[in-house]
């Protein structure tokens, strides 16, 4: 891979970013982590990310709104939704809005790495978990 995969991680629970960020860095991704959805969206205005990983339930803005805003600005970005409250309805809503995948929390970093590899492949980039 000549270019690093740029991944933005957004979860209002700080430990999630702290855990997932290094796990994705290890596989060669360039990651930025955020706990505040507003700050994350400001950053997304400045830079195009290849993959955005976002929680669903957050106080200021929910993950579905983040998903819509990301895809409105950058349709090529793959948005992976993570949620501790994943249900059939949430899954279908996320998919209908264009999510690339949904993972139910808790999950292992290796599970997310597999999804990131698939996202990279669908962008035509090579990456191994």
């Amino acid at each position: 891979m000549t270019e690093q995969l740029k991944v933005l991680i957004l979860d209002d629970e700080p430990t999630v970013g702290k855990r997932l960020g290094p796990a994705l860095c290890k596989m060669g991704c360039q990651t930025e982590t955020f706990v505040d959805p507003t700050e994350a969206l400001q950053r997304l205005e400045q830079t195009e990310f290849d993959v955005v990983v976002t929680d669903i339930r957050m106080e200021k803005l929910d993950g579905i709104q983040v998903l819509e805003r990301v895809l409105a600005k950058s349709p090529r970005t793959k948005v992976v939704v993570i949620s501790g409250y994943a249900t059939l309805e949430v899954a279908r809503q996320a998919l209908a809005k264009g999510a690339f995948d949904l993972l139910a929390k808790p999950f292992k970093p290796a599970d997310l790495r597999e999804v990131i590899v698939r996202a990279a492949q669908s962008l035509g980039l090579a990456l191994t978990a």
Binding site: A91, A96, A99, L102, L103, K108, E114, V115
Partner: protein, 274 residues
């Protein structure tokens, strides 16, 4: 790929849609042809299983322990098949027991009572009025059966993603509607839904192994971890836990196992009165 579970009301006009749909989607169709495999696991005659599933009253006449084993094995075999993807399932109640899997499209096929009664009247040589009354009784039986066996009323529209009335929609059009729905983004598999299906399949495989020992046993699974809950009187608790552990640990896919035993208060009260 998505999977489809069809629940057809009895005596629908026209041909069974499931084979046509499976062929159009390039999927396998699963249903009654799985009964020999299930009967063999249960060590019962296939005809006995078929009779039990075919008539709600026959189902009620079966010994409750055997009923629990039948349901457990049907779930285990069918979920194993659904896990393998690209499947149209009909006639084995997947719509009633597979829960929360977003890439499973549940379809209910119905028709106007007069059309269904006409099919029944021709099949059994009845007058239309007799057939209507028979149909009403059959539908009531089916509702009772689905509630008793799975806690769901199979005639409730809210249970399904699609309800199609074959008196109003041509069969070919119905197949197109289902195929189109299944092809939409909402029904595409994702990590969440594949995990949910895998967890339910593992829990069902474990439960099928344990149900002969405890027909009321509860089993849940998540990411290879399995939680078993049983009820036993104090003097039998240790023995029960050991027996369940031995059986559950032999099931493929069980990485971690926890068995919780709750006191059987009624059994203990009976013990003290002896």
């Amino acid at each position: 790929m998505p999977v489809v579970a069809i629940c057809a009301a009895s005596h629908l006009p026209g041909q069974d849609l499931a084979p046509t749909l499976a062929s159009q989607l390039g999927y396998a169709q699963v249903g009654a042809e799985m009964l020999p495999q299930i009967a063999s696991r249960l060590q019962v005659e296939e005809s006995k299983l078929q009779a039990a599933l075919g008539a709600p009253k026959a189902w009620q006449r079966i010994n409750p322990k055997l009923r629990a084993r039948m349901l457990a094995h049907i779930k285990a075999v069918l979920l194993e098949r659904l896990e393998s993807d690209r499947v149209v399932s009909s006639g084995l109640a997947a719509h009633l027991f597979v829960q929360g899997v977003s890439h499973l499209c549940k379809v209910r096929l119905i028709a106007d009572a007069a059309d269904r009664a006409a099919v029944l009247a021709q099949e059994q040589g009845l007058k239309q009025e007799q057939a209507l009354a028979r149909l009403e009784a059959l539908d009531a039986d089916r509702r009772q059966w689905s509630l008793a066996a799975f806690g769901e009323d199979e005639s409730a529209a809210a249970l399904y993603d699609l309800v199609i009335n074959l008196s109003r929609v041509e069969p070919g059009q119905a197949v197109k509607i289902i195929a189109g729905t299944v092809g939409s983004r909402k029904f595409q598999p994702m990590t969440f839904s594949l995990d949910r299906l895998r967890d339910q399949a593992l829990a069902s495989r474990v439960r099928a192994e344990l149900v002969a020992l405890d027909p009321e046993v509860r089993v849940n699974a998540g990411q290879g971890r399995v939680w078993v809950q049983t009820i036993a009187v104090k003097r039998q608790q240790e023995k029960r836990v050991q027996a369940l552990k031995v059986l559950a640990q032999g099931v493929a896919g069980v990485a971690d196992l926890e068995v919780q035993v709750l006191p059987d208060l009624i059994g203990q009260a009976a013990d003290t009165m002896r």
